[in-house]
């Protein structure tokens, strides 16, 4: 198993490195020069873009259009920023049944209001699959809404404190929720909880600590209360290393996670390698303690000015003490930034169970369209 996995990793990195081009700033291309706050207003990334993020969105797109809300044609008061995301996909899915499928992924708007020199409020609202028995009140709801205090407004470093509903800050924080490090790694789709996060961002390091409680209103997938901490040190201009830990407790079980993250931006060829490896001990009452490994190795590279290639390898072993319970995924994503608002993505996955020895092959090949308002 180890040898085959090592060969697959080498092949994936080689595939990405073989494509010509250059690396540039993008949320998946964090380096010493680009923390999450280098582009985003949130210390954990995602959501509203800052001035530099808007400039980068324009710079990397094929037809560099104005990156502001509605191309800058709709003006809002200086204290209010609006935005949103529309996303859908269509293509082939093998589950292992072979299907053609089309589905919306995201229909979501957001607003950020500046409430004071250091205080802001962020709220998003989106159409979702509704709660059974409560359809009228849940056809749309807010994944994230929080108050944020920022020590140095207008800067990308310093202390941040957030309180409200958001995803606990943990791991590489990839957008792609099917990756194992999200699905089984503590931050699944709709895994937002109510909590408080204290975060410090510095060009040389960053630390995020979150305490969280399960949603008392909606029975969303995360039923646990807990705490998470992740820290990252940029020990060289192109290399950062980090560590993470999370504890969660829910009726009948407790989960302890520890992990390591690394980001290494190679110079020649220009390539960003990102790694996250987690070890989880799940204590199930009255008996059972499966120890799990969840890992992702992701190589990202701009192959032309507006085309970003990601090649990822995921590993999830749901019980390291039992043979034949691991699964592996090879993910390939090609992002084309047509304009600063429109992104077309070709995304594919091949997934095996114990390299084909423990169950059927599955995967997908999807075309995805993303429009950022």
């Amino acid at each position: 198993m180890t040898r085959r996995y090592a060969l697959a990793a080498v092949a994936a990195i080689a595939l990405c490195a073989a494509a010509g081009g250059r690396a540039a700033a993008y949320p998946q291309l964090l380096s010493r020069e680009a923390t999450c706050t280098g582009c985003h207003l949130s210390p954990a990334g995602g959501g509203p873009l800052g001035e530099n993020g808007l400039a980068i969105a324009e710079a990397i797109s094929r037809w560099g259009t104005a990156a502001e809300f509605f191309y800058g044609k709709v003006h809002t008061p200086s204290w209010l920023t609006l935005g949103g995301d529309l996303r859908g996909a269509t293509g082939y899915v093998q589950t292992p049944e072979k299907l053609l499928a089309s589905f919306p992924m995201q229909i979501e708007g957001w607003g950020r209001a500046v409430l004071g020199p250091r205080l802001s409020l962020y709220v998003n609202l989106g159409s979702r699959a509704s709660q059974v028995g409560n359809e009228g009140a849940t056809f749309a709801w807010s994944r994230e809404h929080y108050l944020m205090w920022q020590q140095r407004p207008g800067e990308s470093s310093g202390f941040y404190v957030r309180a409200g509903r958001f995803m606990p800050v943990f791991g590489l924080r990839l957008v792609e929720h099917p990756t194992y490090i999200r699905r089984w790694g503590g931050t699944p789709l709709y895994g937002e909880t109510y909590g408080v996060a204290a975060e410090y961002i510095d060009p040389a390091y960053e630390v995020h600590a979150t305490g969280f409680l399960r949603d008392p209103i909606l029975a969303t997938p995360e039923h646990a209360n807990g705490a998470a901490v992740v820290g990252e040190v940029r020990i060289r201009p192109r290399l950062s290393l980090g560590a993470e830990a999370m504890y969660t407790s829910s009726p009948g079980e407790q989960k302890y996670r520890i992990g390591a993250i690394a980001r290494w931006r190679l110079e020649a060829p220009e390539l960003l390698l990102q790694f996250e490896g987690q070890f989880m001990n799940q204590l199930i009452e009255p008996r059972g303690a499966p120890k799990q490994i969840i890992a992702e190795l992701l190589a990202s590279r701009f192959v032309t000015g507006a085309v970003l290639l990601d090649v990822g390898l995921g590993l999830f072993d749901e019980n390291v003490a039992i043979t034949g319970l691991h699964r592996e995924a090879l993910d390939v994503n090609v992002h084309w930034f047509a304009t600063s608002h429109i992104e077309a993505i070709a995304t594919g996955r091949i997934e095996t169970l114990a390299f084909g020895d423990a169950g059927p092959l599955s995967g997908y090949a999807l075309a995805q369209l993303h429009y950022r308002l």
Binding site: P96, T220, G259, F279, I284, E318, A358
Partner: protein, 138 residues
């Protein structure tokens, strides 16, 4: 700064070394406990109870497996007739909970087929413990 670098590298090496060593631990065959808590929290919850599937929020097809109570309730749906229940200890291999995991069409979980050993454990639980765990024993 140098001290911080050394500490960071040391911590990283220890963590990575620990992760790398884990797969080399002695592995055993499928000796996991076939109990309702284990089946629910180690298999059904992580694989089947995603946000828009068999969670208490969405209850796709009327079933939820994200908590032990929700799983117990779902597994008892159709209690009046064994043929409509998800588990049938009298005919384990005819239980819907088992057949949806192995059938060719609309196999579950639809986005992540289970490893054979998880399916074996679910079947073993239906055979050995489902009746007592769910209070179905005569």
């Amino acid at each position: 700064m140098v001290g911080a670098m050394v500490r960071a590298v040391t911590i990283g090496r220890v963590v990575l070394a620990g992760l790398a060593a884990l797969p080399a631990c002695d592995q055993t065959e499928n000796d996991r406990p076939p109990t309702l808590p284990y089946i629910t929290l180690a298999i059904l919850q992580p694989y089947c109870a995603q946000g828009v599937c068999h969670s208490s929020y969405r209850k796709e097809s009327g079933y939820a497996f994200d908590t032990l109570d929700a799983a117990r309730e779902s597994l008892l749906i159709g209690r009046s007739g064994a043929a409509t229940r998800l588990v049938n200890p009298d005919e384990p291999e005819a239980s819907l909970l088992y057949t949806v995991l192995v059938r060719k069409i609309r196999r579950m979980p639809y986005d992540a087929p289970l490893p054979d050993k998880d399916i074996e454990l679910v079947l073993r639980w239906i055979e050995q413990k489902a009746a007592s765990d769910l209070g179905l024993a005569p």
